[in-house]
């Protein structure tokens, strides 16, 4: 059984912690610190296994870790797990992260710890290895993400958002703001007419002089602006969204 899965960086900052055994929050932090001390002082060229710290259960438990660039991936397991198997699992985990995040780096783990948890949940369940086949894992993770998106896109129908990455709207409470506007409009007008109204609104906005624009932002879908998007600046190149920076 796996007792805990920890990811921390070279300074011991936790990036992900998953305990399959209940500890209080304080103990969890101590375990992370202790594990970091045990692991970080080891040379690069020694083996990847060592005995667990006192807090996690002493020498009955093994720490199996790998060090990738700035991150340590540590699995704390009991004697029933094979060392090599777990090493392989770490590799699969990291490769899966790499595929899901496209060139994963520490920042991805920092900002999307929930996604990392979701991926991990497809590999390890309740301390037992669930799946080691990377393709299968990615397939399931993708299917679930697609489902999430479909739940969001059902709410998002207005053309302002069409073609955009939905995740930027989603993070604001599951519904895009301009869709809400759209919905309000379509209450009184027919669907196609409301689309036209939206188009008109946008056209007016684009033609408006810049100072007025800066005055408007609080009513506009500024969540779509590039800086707030989860992917950082530069991900959206569409010009509209540079116009509304008040959120950054």
């Amino acid at each position: 059984m796996i007792r805990a899965i920890l990811i921390f960086n070279n300074h011991g900052k936790p990036r992900l912690s998953k305990f399959y055994e209940h500890y209080t929050e304080d103990t969890e932090q101590q375990i992370i610190r202790e594990t970091f001390h045990l692991v970080s002082k080891r040379d690069e060229n020694v083996c990847n296994f060592l005995e667990g710290g006192m807090l996690i259960g002493g020498s009955d438990y093994k720490l199996i870790y790998r060090h990738y660039a700035t991150l340590y991936f540590v699995f704390c397991v009991d004697s029933s797990e094979s060392e090599l198997g777990i090493l392989d699992l770490i590799q699969v985990f990291v490769e899966t992260l790499d595929k899901c995040f496209e060139n994963v780096c520490e920042l991805d783990l920092i900002f999307h710890v929930d996604k990392v948890h979701n991926i991990l949940a497809e590999m390890v369940m309740g301390g037992m290895v669930l799946e080691t086949n990377m393709n299968e894992i990615i397939m399931q993770v993708d299917a679930q993400n697609k489902m999430e998106k479909s739940e969001v896109s059902r709410a998002c129908v207005c053309f302002l958002c069409v073609g955009l990455d939905w995740s930027c709207c989603m993070q604001y409470a599951g519904m895009c703001v301009c869709c809400t506007l759209h919905a309000t409009l379509s209450l009184s007008l027919s669907f196609s007419l409301s689309l036209c109204m939206c188009a008109l609104l946008l056209g007016i906005l684009l033609l408006l002089p810049l100072p007025l624009l800066l005055f408007l932002p609080s009513f506009l879908p500024s969540c779509c602006c590039c800086c707030c998007s989860p992917h950082g600046p530069g991900h959206y190149t569409s010009t509209y969204f540079f116009l509304f920076p008040p959120h950054c």
């Binding site: 059984m1 936790p14 912690s17 399959y20 209940h22 209080t24 929050e25 932090q29 040379d43 060229n45 020694v46 083996c47 990847n48 296994f49 060592l50 005995e51 020498s59 029933s80 060392e83 090599l84 198997g85 090493l87 392989d88 590799q91 920092i110 900002f111 999307h112 710890v113 929930d114 948890h117 949940a121 369940m125 309740g126 301390g127 037992m128 290895v129 669930l130 799946e131 080691t132 299968e136 399931q140 299917a143 679930q144 489902m147 999430e148 739940e151 989603m170 993070q171 604001y172 409470a173 599951g174 519904m175 703001v177 809400t180 919905a183 309000t184 609080s218 500024s222 969540c223 989860p230």
Partner: protein, 1167 residues
């Protein structure tokens, strides 16, 4: 309204999401804690909002903060809210948060049971998946018990994704609810041969975990595993990894060796040098592994050598952890299996003494306990040990460098005790006594001081004895004076133990001094205080004391006051009577005679008590005669060795001595052998005297008399008490080969009972059902049977088929008799004994399991069997008669269980306890209804589940009813293109797949080959629940023969009674009373005439058919409660007198109430 939505969304724009939170924390590096506390305040605000999206966002942030070490248990309820969201996005967030911060003592977990059950049976596989994943992290014994059966069902889900998760989680369920192991095991075993490799590996995983703890129970699986091993394609990329880690190979090599060692110790011992080399490796993991190996490798021959090497390492080792590890290993190695490898205990003592030189070790107590253990158990070594310990005490200042933190001072505890206890062996007791009373001792930890004081007293007695024997009395008086001078130091100690002992002994010494001044010889009496020998007591001794006959600790000492007595008056009377009894008159008059008599009795008792430490005069003599004493070598102190503790011998010398001794022995032996050879000239028995001596040849230097541990005289021999009773795995030590007993069946959710209803003929038909399509529980054995029969059955003509089936049934019958593996009750039971057709022509139904908590636990499930085939063939009837008797027995049992389950759950437990046992068993009951059939197909249908609104009472979704329909092909042709359609009413609508019109049918997503049945689930939305609903529907399908295909249809009527909208909800009497007092409820009543059944049957029937739970029952009057899926409270007061039953009811919705009462009336009018 719309504006409000817009405003809400704009507000939400300013909420932080997880990314903002992380970014914020990174930007506030210097005042992180402050920033986070403001964030938590924001989150608290967000959690107060109604919008589930905002809540989910807040919970998501909390999950992150939890990782940073913040306690978020205060938001547990909000997490449950998010978990119960209908959207997968939020549900996933909720379950993730729950898996991170819920644990067994989280009280809101019990609120989640129904939610989780709902998710487990969700048509969306990812809802189920996410629920399983979450559950795996926070499963509690209660959850495990309630959900075990749902999870079992999921183990045969059509999707491998769900199957593998369900299989894995079973291990957690077993841990929390061991009773589920036996019923679930056959299916688990089946999963080892699952077509999906993922499920297979999950099953292997679970069984390996189980087998690791209790391997002997799983031996029967060995062949299966071997087959898996040879055929498995799940290749771990072993070679690649091995190439990457050379270091790793060394580690693995050592690990492998330790495995080999267990079976073939000899082969590993030849690699001793190699392993010792590994001790020098810079990698600590490898060194530790090597140490492990050494542990198993030692023998009498090489122990000294190995320990010497280890001692060298101890000196060299930097870093206390590794040094401590070495130290414990040395002690482990030496003390393993009762010191069997130690030939020279003097050597061992000196090793221990050397180890005390280690600075800053944490294992002082370990060394101390070893010293004590050896000194007590090896009598021959005591003189030597005492001498060593005296030296240690003299040099105590060396050991106690920085006192409190230094664990090594623990050794002084042992030293002081040994010197005191065996003080007769001391060469210079006076010196030791002085050493023990030095002022510096007061800086030692309290428990050590206490031992010092106590043993100073023992020493004092010894000193006194010797001094009184030798002429001048002044020396003895001086000793007393010394004690009196020094002891006050301890009397002032802050440690209570020290203080108490010191003042006791001080008073004693003062008294002795008085006597001494009167020139009375006291030495004898003083030493009598400490006479007697201590023997070690085995750790299990206490447990092994057999319980004396007639002692029952659970029995009442006084009869408990009977419950019937009125509560108000009783207590006063008790107190008034009892008070005088407590007077202290007892202790006043105890005369001398009485005292003497008691003393005698006590002596007698002590003589018989195995634990009382008796003075045994013989033990001293035994020691004197011990032949080992002459062998003790004289220790030469080699002054060239730099000693930190002066005067202590080095263990190395023993090595040399040992070598010499052995050589000498060998020489002796040779001589003897030569002699022998001269006498006996035959060469047959020649020995290889040049070869290494065998283990047995090494005789220990001392005749070691290891005192065996004491056990109570009549201890019961047992071997299983080594295990930790708290070990969760111990509970899983279950014999899996035994057949299941009735009482072991899992609590089954009601819809499982579909199987129960089948007639034997149907059973035969159902046998061709492939396991993946058949969600019903089946024992593996039956399945195997089925497979065998399957092919045959198809080939034979119809008549033959019938015969076959008949035979087959008999087989199955046997199976059921011998191994009641599952809650299958053949329907003959039911049809024969039917006494209870319900409104829709129901068959009798027997609840299959004893632990079933249907009525209270699985509140959301309802049976609505629309159709049950009643085919009566001749052979069936015959059989019924044959087996009637047998079944009736079975039935009785089951009824009883069934009954018990009524009283089992929650609210009614307190009421019915005690009274139910002697009432007659309940008749079987069922909610089956008959609807229609034709010669092609048979449909069975049950309402599974009400999708209850969110916990906070969000009603906008309306209420959903899930109906599970089982289609069974009865003809010889393939049925395909089945379309299930109902005419929607205003109130109830079938939920159709997206994109289809309001009149399109639900296309059944499978085809039915002959004899196969399969299940489809339909979701209905119901707006108003106050009226019963009837929906007309049609099933159209194509019957495809070899040559033709016919279009066929079957009409049916779907009936939702008002009862089916009620959920069995337990209610406590105080809450019930409040509800009635509130005055919001409308009243109505009904009278039932000529009801010929016991009152508890009546109640059970209302509970069962109408989903009520009993709140309180007093004689012939009971209050009952239920709740509709839209939250209406329904309260009943049922009274009976003679054959008339009156029901007064209250509900906040009069129409609903009226309908429910009508339905109740109908139920009883039919019986």
């Amino acid at each position: 309204m719309a504006l409000k939505i817009v405003k809400g969304s704009i507000d939400r724009m300013f909420d932080k999401n997880l990314q903002d939170l992380v970014r914020g924390i990174r930007n506030h590096k210097e005042d992180e804690a402050k920033y986070i506390s403001t964030c938590i305040d924001e989150i608290k605000q967000e959690l107060k909002q109604d919008n589930i999206a905002v809540k989910a966002n807040a919970v998501c942030k909390l999950t992150y903060l939890q990782m940073l070490g913040y306690d978020v248990s205060w938001a547990a309820f909000n997490i449950v809210e998010v978990m119960s969201s209908s959207k997968f996005t939020y549900k996933r967030i909720g379950y993730l948060a729950a898996s991170q911060c819920f644990h067994e003592s989280t009280d809101v977990i019990m609120l989640t049971t129904n939610q989780i059950r709902k998710d487990l049976s969700s048509p969306n596989q990812y809802d189920t998946g996410v629920a399983l994943t979450g559950l795996s992290c926070f499963v509690t014994p209660d959850l495990a018990r309630d959900l075990a059966n749902d999870i079992m069902t999921l183990m045969s889900h059509t999707k491998p994704y769900i199957r593998k998760k369900a299989v894995l989680i079973m291990y957690k369920v077993f841990l929390k609810y061991p009773e589920s192991l036996r019923p679930a095991f056959p299916r688990l075993k089946e999963k080892l041969e699952d077509p999906d490799p993922g499920v297979q590996s999950a099953a292997v995983n679970v069984i390996c975990e189980l087998a690791r703890r209790n391997p002997k129970n799983y031996l029967s699986l060995a062949p299966l595993f071997f087959k898996l091993m040879t055929s498995s394609t799940n290749n771990w990329v072993l070679i690649k990894i091995i190439k990457l880690f050379i270091q790793v190979l060394k580690y693995l090599g050592l690990l492998a060796m330790s495995k080999i060692l267990k079976t073939h110790p000899k082969s590993v011992q030849s690699h001793k040098d190699l392993i010792l080399q590994c001790l020098d490796d810079k990698d600590e993991s490898i060194r530790l592994r090597a140490l492990d190996l050494l542990y198993g490798m030692v023998s009498k021959k090489n122990l000294m050598e190995i320990v010497k090497k280890l001692m060298l390492h101890v000196d060299k080792a930097e870093g206390t952890t590794y040094r401590d590890e070495l130290l414990t290993k040395i002690i482990d190695i030496c003390s393993q299996s009762n010191y069997q490898y130690i030939t020279n205990f003097e050597w061992y003592i000196s090793i221990l003494v050397e180890l005390t030189r280690l600075e800053g070790t944490r294992h002082g107590h370990l060394i101390a306990s070893q010293m004590l253990d050896v000194a007590i158990r090896v009598k021959a070594i005591r003189i030597f040990a005492v001498a060593q310990m005296a030296t240690l005490l003299d040099n105590a200042h060396l050991l106690t460098g920085n006192m409190q933190r230094n664990g090594i001072c623990e050794v002084l505890y042992a030293a002081a005790w040994i010197c005191g206890e065996f003080s007769e062996h001391l060469e210079n007791p006076m010196q030791t006594l002085e050493a023990m009373l030095r002022p510096k001792v007061a800086t030692l930890p309290g428990h050590i001081q206490a031992v010092y004081v106590q043993n100073a007293a023992k020493l004092f007695s010894t000193v006194l004895k010797s001094q009184e024997g030798s002429t001048e009395g002044t020396a003895a008086q001086e000793t007393s004076q010394l004690m009196i001078d020094r002891l006050p130091l301890f009397v002032q100690s802050a440690n209570l133990e020290v203080q108490e002992r010191a003042s006791c002994i001080l008073q004693l010494v003062k008294y002795i001094q008085k006597l001494q001044q009167k020139e009375v010889e006291v030495a004898e009496e003083v030493s009598a205080l400490f006479a007697g020998e201590l023997n070690p007591v085995a750790p299990k001794a206490q447990k092994k004391v057999p319980v004396p006959e007639g002692l029952d600790l659970d029995a009442w000492i006084n009869e408990p006051p009977s419950e019937s007595e009125s509560e108000d008056e009783q207590p006063k009377a008790i107190f008034a009577k009892e008070e005088p009894k407590h007077s202290r008159s007892r202790h006043t008059e105890v005369d001398e005679k009485e005292l003497a008599r008691r003393r005698e009795a006590r002596k007698q008792e002590q003589a018989n008590n195995p634990f009382y430490i008796k003075a045994s005069p013989s033990s001293q003599k035994v020691y004197q005669e011990s032949p080992g004493v002459e062998h003790i070598p004289v220790v030469q102190i080699d002054l060239t060795v730099p000693l930190k503790v002066p005067g202590l011998p080095m263990s190395d010398q023993y090595l040399k001595l040992e070598e010499e001794r052995r050589q000498k022995e060998r020489a002796d032996k040779k001589k003897k052998e030569k002699k022998k050879r001269k006498e006996k000239r035959s060469g047959r028995g020649r020995r290889h005297d040049s070869g290494p001596e065998s283990e047995e040849d090494i005789t220990p230097a001392h005749m070691v008399d290891i005192v065996t541990e004491e056990m109570p005289e009549n201890a019961l021999p047992s071997d299983d008490d080594d295990k930790d009773p708290n070990d969760p795995h111990k509970a899983l030590d279950i014999d899996l080969d035994k057949p299941l007993a009735d009482s072991e069946k899992l609590p089954v959710r009601s819809h499982r009972a579909a199987k129960v209803a089948k007639s034997p003929v149907e059973d035969g038909d159902a046998e061709n059902t492939p396991p993946s399509q058949e969600p019903k529980k089946k024992s593996s054995k039956e399945k195997r049977e089925k497979k065998k029969d399957k092919d045959r059955d198809r080939k034979k003509s119809k008549e033959e088929k019938k015969k076959k089936k008949h035979k087959h049934e008999e087989k199955e019958e046997d199976l059921l008799g011998g191994e009641a593996d599952e809650p299958v009750v053949q329907s003959e039971d039911t049809t024969e004994v039917v006494a209870l057709p319900t409104s829709t022509n129901a068959e009798t139904y027997i609840l299959p399991t004893p632990d079933n908590r249907l009525l209270t636990m699985s509140s959301t499930s309802i049976f609505l069997f629309f159709f049950i085939e009643q085919k009566s063939s001749k052979h069936k009837k015959k059989k019924q008669k044959k087996e009637k008797e047998e079944k009736e027995k079975k039935k009785k049992k089951k009824h009883h269980h069934h009954h018990r389950h009524h009283s089992d759950g929650g609210a009614d437990e307190s009421v019915q306890n005690g009274t139910v046992e002697d009432e007659e068993p309940l008749p079987p009951m069922s909610n089956y209804c008959l609807l229609a059939e034709n010669s092609y197909i048979k449909m069975m249908c049950l309402t599974l589940n009400h999708k209850v609104c969110d916990i906070q009472g969000n009603l906008q979704d309306g209420s959903q009813v899930v109906v599970s329909v089982i289609f069974e092909n009865k003809c010889d042709s393939l049925l395909k293109s089945m379309e299930f359609n109902v005419l929607d009413s205003l109130n109830s609508k079938l939920q159709r797949p997206e994109g289809s019109g309001p009149h399109d049918g639900f296309t059944v997503p499978f085809q039915l080959p002959p004899g196969v049945s399969n299940e489809a689930r339909l979701v209905f939305t119901v707006q108003s629940i106050v009226m019963p609903q009837k929906m007309k529907g049609t099933l159209t399908f194509i019957v495809k023969n070899e040559d033709s295909s016919i279009h066929e249809k079957l009409d049916f009527k779907l009936h939702f009674t008002c009862t089916s909208y009620l959920i069995t909800t337990p209610c406590y009497s105080d809450a019930f009373a409040k509800l009635l007092e509130s005055g919001d409820l409308k009243c109505s009543s009904v009278r039932l005439e000529e009801v010929n059944m016991p009152f508890h049957h009546l109640l059970a029937r209302i509970c069962f058919h109408h989903h009520f739970s009993v709140v309180e029952r007093i004689d012939s009057c009971a209050s009952m409660y239920s709740r509709s899926i839209q939250g209406h409270h329904v309260c009943l007061l049922v009274k009976t007198s003679g054959q008339t039953v009156s029901i007064d009811a209250k509900c906040d919705e009069p129409t609903l109430l009226g309908n429910v009462l009508d339905e109740i009336k109908q139920t009883f009018s039919q019986c």
